[in-house]
Symmetry: C2
Amino acid sequence: MVRWEPDARGRLQRAALELYAERGFEATTAHDIAERAGVTERTFFRHFADKREVLFDGSARLQQAMVAAVTASPAASPFGVIVDALTAAAEFFADLRDWATKRTAVIAATPSLQERELLKLHRMSEAIANALVARGTEPAQAALAADLGVAVFHRSFQSWISGDHDFGSCVRTTLHDFARVTADVSVEPEPAR
Amino acid sequence: MVRWEPDARGRLQRAALELYAERGFEATTAHDIAERAGVTERTFFRHFADKREVLFDGSARLQQAMVAAVTASPAASPFGVIVDALTAAAEFFADLRDWATKRTAVIAATPSLQERELLKLHRMSEAIANALVARGTEPAQAALAADLGVAVFHRSFQSWISGDHDFGSCVRTTLHDFARVTADVSVEPEPAR
DNA sequence: GCTAGTGATGTCAGCAACTGACATCACGAC
DNA sequence: GTCGTGATGTCAGTTGCTGACATCACTAGC
């Protein structure tokens, strides 16, 4: 006889998303989640650093995929590299639309989850910037390019969730808007550093 | 005889920044801050929604200044408008360098404060996007332009804090990098919506 | 097959972040 | 002079989260 059912971590993640969707994040206690998953509250906090983190278990993998794409990209310019990273993100989410939709709704309804989401995106930007620097991009430009890439990713993701196009075409639409919006930005003479 | 010293709110803000800088955010309790400010913990939470918010009292005013600049900007393109908003931000910080430096160091050392900072920047982006839409910009482009503007602001702010140039020249340097990084982004044919 | 070790979990006590309810009392309006 | 009123104090309670220690199925080594 097994002492515990396997995959407590997965059960906690599913229970948390369900409960956050049913009654809201604030109205759900860690005890509630643990109870539905059939473990104790203490076990919840062994698997996840806090109540929010339980929704962000995939972000490390997404970050790895995007960093790997940056490192492997054949493009020469920083922005060309970023476009390749966005393609990797599209592949990452290929089979996750239902989960991503539910999760996004919960996050959109909860400021403290938005904070965590924004921090994860920021960390992703830092990781991408590091990967660009490793490729030889100048650090300030790498950081900026990574921020812009993450902004494009975030907008693309939102339109993917709220519309009915595939992720790839949302990225293309966002890149089109990007080009329109920045059409009048010109390279000025090198300013003082 | 006055019952209480005036400006409890200001005393709490100064006490909090001092203590966060002295012993770190995590090691400082709300009780500590209240004690140094000469009030009770309950009073702290009447003035600020949580331990983090005490460092973000100025962000509403910055947001108002940038939104006003967007609304009043004579520029035609979204990005031209954003540049005017950045100029407004530069004015906002003109006399605040010492305070901003100390505060930025505390935030950089504390993930949960970074989260709050990122949320404030995100809210600022949303407000700027709304102001752009009110000027007639298409919503998707407005949201993207606002995100890009906030990214430029954030980078400029960081280099202002860590270097010894004035805010305005940091903005110019960042805009130069922006133009370099996006030099190869071209307007492709309108994709499907 | 026995034993020692390991790892995931349970139990429990405790701190700190907040919140609601109610009391206090200087000050200003009238 | 009385009567709000608003900023504060007091206190009790919930919840997020942590450290310390106990438990016990499973596994490896003998």
